[in-house]
Symmetry: C2
Subunit: 301 residues, 2 copies
Amino acid sequence: MKDKFYAYLQNLQDTITTSLEAVDTKAKFKEDLWKRPEGGGGRTRVIEKGAVFEKGGVNTSSVYGKLPDTMQQYFGVEDADFYACGLSLVLHPKSPMLPTVHANWRYFEMYNSQGHLVDSWFGGGQDLTPYYLFEEDAIHFHSVCKTACDKHDLTFYPKFKEKCDNYFWNTHRNEARGIGGLFFDYCKTSEKMTMAHWYDFTTEIGNSFLESYLPIIEKRKAIAYTQAHRNWQEIRRGRYVEFNLVHDKGTLFGLKTNGRIESILMSLPPHVQWTYNHTPKKGSEEAKLLSILKQPKQWVV
Amino acid sequence: MKDKFYAYLQNLQDTITTSLEAVDTKAKFKEDLWKRPEGGGGRTRVIEKGAVFEKGGVNTSSVYGKLPDTMQQYFGVEDADFYACGLSLVLHPKSPMLPTVHANWRYFEMYNSQGHLVDSWFGGGQDLTPYYLFEEDAIHFHSVCKTACDKHDLTFYPKFKEKCDNYFWNTHRNEARGIGGLFFDYCKTSEKMTMAHWYDFTTEIGNSFLESYLPIIEKRKAIAYTQAHRNWQEIRRGRYVEFNLVHDKGTLFGLKTNGRIESILMSLPPHVQWTYNHTPKKGSEEAKLLSILKQPKQWVV
């Protein structure tokens, strides 16, 4: 399973980076291959200063070895080994009219001290962070997520949509990071789902990514914007940084367990502002976004 | 003691903001008075878009009430009340030739369920974060710190300098946030020092702040700089954000206990960049700074 899924992820990485380069027309992804001293490594691909994408990364990794102590405690196990592979992507467009997107699909295996597989699961999701909200884009993004989920189980979309809203919540600001999407984790064998089913589901979601995002980019990329729009985008990007550095479990885990820092922090936006107590005018587009972020919305039913 | 020290801090806040406005010549501090629902409040003063200071805050607060659960656990107490007051300041100059400075002086009291004072202590410090390093400025800053310490105890400077180097260490980058200064905490009654002595010491350090920082600003504020210098400053400011959001105990405590977010996060720089895997040229001024940050240095003996 692990080899099959990692091969899938590497193919998906190729498909995604090729498509994004075609959309951008100007910048190309630069590739860094890296090795993890304790076992495994990754393929980091970063795009910067493009016509459409100001900064983005589409990274795969496949790592294994002794389960770090903090994770042994987290899972309540001792002397365990692990294998993990995943694809993580974050795209920060230049235009404030285009939303930032994040996606991640991953697979985890855990072994006992005799090297026997004792547990395994899939996880992943994708979520959208607009700076100016076009409601039909939010509906499009969620519709693609829902269609992919519904092929497998009608309970998945509402369940994983809610998990996403809960996860990407900036507690200290009392607002959502963006308008959500899907978040699923610990997807294990159950009465209804074998691991082969979860593989089909996770790859279905991965395959739907470009369809969920690229049409929004194509539709909005020519909209003109001002420095004021750009300032708002950079202030909102500050909230993105706050979420990733204060709350995001994956980022903190990476930072505290000697992960590859530059691959982890490629998620941070290129230009960011913090302005004291910035408050948009009542009735403005900026205020409308904030009101949507205060209360997660049902975009599709 | 608490009233005396808070009155001192409010006076010091006036002295510092008046002096900084005089240096800036363009921008003025804006004041926000705020109340904490559970008890107490503060006086936040923020300067933005000045001629010298791009963003800065000089804040006092005096808060009291039930000790938050997370702190009860931290101190291993139950049913405790607390009082805390402090002055916190962070100044982010516009010119990359000028260092960012941070300072904080604080006093804490803890009471048992009968309302009796059971513990109290002083804490504080100040530290400097240059983007381009002028060694004589680092020596000046540390000399002022040492002179103030030496008036009270010759062991203080080396001890509190080392604590500062340890505290402002960006673990995940394996480098210091800046070139250090002083950091002291839990300064309680001992054989050598009464609380009155610690009051004298902490106010001595507070009084030395302007002398430690302003001469550097005056000396370097007219130096010309390019967009390349500015980019480097904004990238390094990213490390400042990483430290404050990932490692700084005070910031995280504030974010997780419903503190006044805008007062806490006034410490974040106004314009910040994250560039993938930025590496300065060998032998450059930027590379020289990095090498100094890898290994804390003795600036004065």
